[in-house]
Symmetry: C2
Subunit: 272 residues, 2 copies
Amino acid sequence: MKRTAFFISDGTGITAETLGQSLLAQFENITFQKLTRPYIDSAEKARAMVQQINTAAEKDGMRPIIFDTIVNQSIRDILAQSDGFMIDIFSCFLSPLEQELNASSSYSVGKSHSISHSANYMERIEAVNFALDNDDGARTHYYDKADLILVGVSRCGKTPTCLYMAMQYGIRAANYPLTEEDMERLQLPAALKQYKSKLFGLTIDPDRLTAIRNERKPNSRYASFAQCEFEVREVENLFRRENIPHINSTHFSVEEISAKILVEIGVERRLK
Amino acid sequence: MKRTAFFISDGTGITAETLGQSLLAQFENITFQKLTRPYIDSAEKARAMVQQINTAAEKDGMRPIIFDTIVNQSIRDILAQSDGFMIDIFSCFLSPLEQELNASSSYSVGKSHSISHSANYMERIEAVNFALDNDDGARTHYYDKADLILVGVSRCGKTPTCLYMAMQYGIRAANYPLTEEDMERLQLPAALKQYKSKLFGLTIDPDRLTAIRNERKPNSRYASFAQCEFEVREVENLFRRENIPHINSTHFSVEEISAKILVEIGVERRLK
């Protein structure tokens, strides 16, 4: 049994989708087909949406669930005529907020994921550039400008984490891969030593690392379980010996790893 | 006058923050200090939060606004004793959903931004790797595997857009910078011709491009307004001549550009 859910917005759809996903995740035994429909910002598009919703209703034999963040009331009124079950995200909270803040909502469209101000935009692009330029130990002479330097074995998730932190928080995160030679030397590479306070370690279960490396270089020594296990053991020893805070990325998403790192090291995000 | 807003969660805080930001954006005349507090998952942490909230209340002389997605009722009960004004995101919607779905919420923590299943995780990492490997025209022989190839002048926003689409939607997006030589040839580079159906163009206002390039290479010919204007004009002519769908990125965030591209080309996201 499958149930259709629509995330409908007059903007990007990110808010409707994020909240909708969170709420639906609480119903683990139901399978949802999730459809995001951004930029529904005219009566005409709303009427086309009603048709899509009604078609899904007929096919499923059940009302689709509609999560919407449409601000314009006349567009919402059209959607309300569909056969869907509407979860009205904004109006549920806007009037209590208006009361508490003693101010009127501007009822303006697509505010939250727009370019709010140019400074924020530049911070973010700079942070993404920083992550790219300082990825995988490519350069180490800009570490003085880094908010954070992620360290760990190859393919443990450093790059996606740095990019996510740049995009989401504007944090300038470099990353440096610890290699077999670093481990044999039993100490931190020289480039990292003076920035020890910025280091954060990522580790990973050896089986998971084996699987990920095999996607990249199948049947190589690099991807063998023995090699992965050796590197992970050594790097974890290094983290402990050098007192580098670290987490195991195996069971966490990039969002979770990033949020946990922020909590742990207390770096301030640059995007407001 | 400044008002404090807390986004509090037992997980990453992404849902509370996303919805809270959207709602607060509707009150343009009020300045908020926004604080995200993830992983508030014990009575002890909740009591520490209450102290933070009460301190802010005293400092501001007004109740802080609390957006929370905490699932555990006894932790929520502690927060409810604070001096904040609570916007109770989950409970507002969970009981109507339970009724409509005829199922009980599992009231489980941090579901929405966890690794839901391994296939999704791999899709996402693959997409990020694809974007990195095929960034800035670095390689063109994997374009058969691309969902999308972004084209445009240097520094018009191609790379962040590709990375965001990879991270958020699992879409494999390559990007190719159109250079002066391409424009002088008045035609698409050979590497792109056979993948014309995958092309999407980004353009940008010349003044904005000048500002962005000046951050990178101050006072260069590359960053001069004349050069930027020339390149933008030529590339827009190329898009029109070759019938390549395109948008102007100047006034849009990476999220908006990505959402608009998806709507326009109808590529299916790979993450469910």
